[in-house]
């Protein structure tokens, strides 16, 4: 059961990383246009360099 002492903090840490990543995405406005982004991926206009 000692392994729990490592596994629980690790799982919490990884979850926390996911949460932080989500906050970052939210602040960067990556959820502002989900429909458009889903379609933009199909175009070849922006292939060379991303444009924001």
């Amino acid at each position: 059961m000692d392994v729990l002492g490592i596994l629980i903090p690790v799982s919490l840490f990884l979850g926390g990383v996911g949460l932080a990543a989500f906050f970052w995405m939210l602040k960067r406005g990556q959820f502002d246009d989900p429909d458009g982004d889903a379609h933009r991926i199909l175009r070849d206009d922006y292939d060379d360099a991303p444009k924001d």
Partner: protein, 727 residues
């Protein structure tokens, strides 16, 4: 809409420095940021097409389409106006409307949405971790391991619950303060009681802790809240954008000088100048100039009326041909336009009394749950004399009966349904509009501007001599009058070449005259050329001293209008056409489109009265209209729809706005709303069934945290999946 987006620097126009619109413009970046509404875009091709078309315009630095909001943001030089861009897009085949970027600064509502999403994410994180730890307990962890799991769960769940549940606590507290019960009171109680008893159990090495249930409750309810919020916010912000398109300004003449002032600064006795093509900002009397005015939005008349010195004009009418000087008799709040807006406010107050299905459910639910859990607690207290046991039972009952499914039942369906409608080009402004639309049995259409585009088309041109048509084209090309423009476009489309005319001049208010082969020719009003005024839209061509030749017009049908009427008929709705236009024009139109019940020459009050009369007979009326004369009727109806081209007062009065030119989303909306209502009641049934099955376990004291978690997740999932079935 006639508003053009100008970029006056604050110094360029001292007179309007105090106007709110000018302040908003002054805060804009140096390069203008323009916003366009694109109701018809739907795919990757549209995004590329629109962006490429916009980028090709000289002066445009950047253009970005947002497909979710169906909008484009354009960064451009000041010389580029939104009107130019709209034209460019129309030529490229995309329908576009201008939006006021000043009003788009709705960051406040965005912040609320982001806040909810943040809490939702934290709740999800906490729920997943606590659930993970709980699985260990459910699968048989004993003794100190179980206690450790419970303690870690508590360490995660307690701060998370405090942070995530804030919206519920605030709402519950504000309800309790005025001695009312809302849905959030049992929610708050369930969360607090669950966390409290679990903490107590954990301290005393108890077997059951409900931390996972408390945080899962938060998560599911926040999900419902967020969906609900997003539907409302996107509709509201878009409706605001549409509403604030027109900046009320007027050109005032003072000491021989013209100055731009806001309409609120005008007072009776002032003289304002109304340019051709401009909307009249005040009620008044014409002192100078002659023109024709379009009253379609005010009265529904499709024929422009003559205006000369002494004519009375009202705010909202459009000046067509010549400049007019108008002496103000009433401005701002005293105008006819404003009085109609007041009528709307009164009618809207009545409609706000509508109780939605969710409210009805909450009214039954909140007291029921409290009574149930108190009874369970009292029963166990009498039976065992153990406060700890009875509180545990009360907590279990509150958790099991948690309104997760109820909280998701309505928002999940309305989100799905309004998303579908938005994709079809229809905006829902009011939260309960969809429910009300499902109950509709009578549909009332306005004619001009609603079933028709409000743009006249000449008919029977082939009957006239070719020579006359060449003269007509030559004359029509000299005028910006809508009839003349329609005529010249139709003739050019037929390959007619204009006759060579001399001394061409427009006589504002009357028509155009010129000389052709040494004889005078005129194109204009009946009275001007000595003809009888007809009862349908027409203009007259007179060559020399011969009898005037009538050129008749018909209003072109809005796309999808006939299909919509047919589809609604097929759904068994009673359909009525009501218009301020003349009998002849209305009845021939009704026959063409297939409507049997017709009311012509209706005044605004009569329209509203007719709607109210139907409502008194028990009919549920859907009113579709665009004009100011429809506004009172729109507000009086059970539910109302207006096209985006409608006056802002009409859009404000209606529950839904059609973003595109096409009317066909109306029939879809009625169908979808009926299905949505069915799904909502199915969801309520599902949620109730889960509760009825699980509550006996809770009251009997057999509910374990595992059963609570299963019941909660299963009911929330079924309800959400059922909502997604909406087609």
């Amino acid at each position: 809409m006639s508003a053009t987006y100008e970029h006056p620097g604050p110094a360029a126009c001292p007179a309007c420095a105090g106007a709110p619109a000018a302040e908003a413009l002054a805060e804009l970046p140096r390069n203008g940021r323009l916003m366009l509404s694109l109701p018809a875009i739907h795919c990757a091709g549209c995004i590329s097409g629109v962006e490429r078309a916009l980028m090709a315009v000289p002066g445009v630095q950047d253009a970005r389409v947002n497909l979710t909001l169906k909008r484009a943001a354009v960064q451009a030089d000041r010389s580029v106006t939104a009107v130019d861009l709209v034209e460019v897009l129309e030529r490229a085949g995309y329908e576009a409307h201008e939006l006021d970027p000043g009003v788009l600064a709705t960051t406040d509502s965005d912040r609320r949405g982001r806040d909810l999403l943040m809490r939702l994410a934290v709740a999800f994180f906490a729920m997943m971790n606590v659930m993970l730890l709980s699985v260990a307990v459910w699968s048989g962890a004993e003794g100190s391991t179980r206690d450790m799991m419970h303690w870690i769960s508590a360490a995660i769940a307690i701060p998370a619950v405090i942070f995530c549940g804030r919206p519920f606590y605030v709402s519950a507290w504000s309800a309790l303060r005025v001695r009312r019960l809302n849905m959030d009171v049992p929610i708050t109680l369930a969360i607090l009681l669950a966390v409290g008893t679990s903490l107590y159990e954990t301290m005393h090495s108890g077997k059951h802790a409900y931390f996972d249930a408390a945080i899962a409750l938060c998560f599911f309810l926040l999900a419902g809240r967020y969906l609900d919020y997003r539907t409302r916010a996107s509709a509201r912000s878009a409706a605001q954008e549409l509403a604030a398109l027109e900046v009320p300004r007027a050109l005032r003449l003072r000491d021989g000088r013209e100055e731009t002032v806001s309409v609120s600064e005008l007072s009776p006795g002032d003289i304002v100048r109304v340019k051709p093509g401009g909307r009249i900002p005040v009620d008044g009397r014409v002192t100078d100039g002659a023109s024709e005015i379009d009253r379609a939005l005010m009265t529904g008349e499709s024929l422009p009326a003559y205006a000369g010195p002494g004519s009375v004009v009202s705010a909202g009418e459009v000046n067509l041909t010549g400049p007019l000087m108008v002496e103000v008799t009433a401005a701002g709040e005293d105008t006819a336009l404003h009085r109609i807006a007041d009528l709307v406010a009164v009618a809207e107050a009545g409609r706000n009394n509508y109780t939605s299905l969710a409210d009805q459910a909450a009214k039954l639910y909140a007291p029921g749950v409290h009574i149930l859990s108190v009874l369970a607690a009292i029963g166990w207290w009498i039976y065992t004399q153990d406060l700890r046991v009875s509180l545990n039972i009360a907590a279990a009952v509150l958790i099991i009966t948690c309104p997760c499914a109820l909280g998701l039942a309505v928002p999940a369906v309305t989100t799905a349904a309004s998303g579908r409608l938005f994709r079809k080009g229809m905006l829902i402004k009011d939260g309960t509009a969809m429910e009300r639309l499902a109950e509709v049995d009578t549909v009332i259409f306005d004619k001009t501007g609603t079933l028709t585009l409000g743009a006249p088309q000449p008919v029977g041109l082939d009957r006239h001599p070719a020579e006359a048509m060449r003269v007509a084209l030559g004359l029509a090309m000299a005028s910006a009058h809508p009839l003349a423009e329609a005529l010249s476009k139709a003739l050019r489309d037929r390959g007619v070449r204009p006759a060579k005319l001399d001394d061409l001049r427009e006589v504002p208010g009357y028509g155009v005259e010129a000389r052709w082969h040494e004889q005078p020719v005129r194109l204009g009003r009946a009275g001007w050329v000595g003809a009888e005024p007809p009862d349908i839209t027409a203009t007259f061509l007179q060559i020399g001293s011969a009898d005037a030749l009538p050129l008749t017009f018909t209003d072109s049908l809005r796309p999808g209008a006939a299909e919509t009427v047919q589809a609604l008929k097929a759904q068994g709705k009673r359909i009525v056409l009501i218009s301020g236009d003349t009998k002849g024009a209305v009845s021939s139109f009704a026959a063409e489109i297939g409507i049997d019940e017709v009311i012509a020459e209706a005044l605004p009050a009569e329209k509203a009265g007719f709607v109210a009369g139907l409502a008194a007979e028990g009919a549920r009326v859907l009113m579709v209209g665009d004009g100011l004369n429809d506004t009172a009727a729109l507000a009086a109806a059970h539910v109302s729809i207006s096209p985006a081209s409608a006056l802002d007062a009409s859009r404000a009065a209606s529950d839904m706005v059609l973003l595109g030119r096409d009317l066909s989303p109306i029939a879809d909306a009625v169908r979808i709303s009926v299905v949505a209502r069915k799904r909502i009641s199915e969801n309520f049934t599902l949620a109730t069934v889960y509760n009825v099955l699980a509550v006996p376990f809770a009251i009997a004291g057999l509910a374990t945290p595992l059963i609570a978690a299963l019941a909660m997740s299963a009911s929330s999932l079924t309800v959400s999946l059922n909502a997604l079935r909406l087609k």
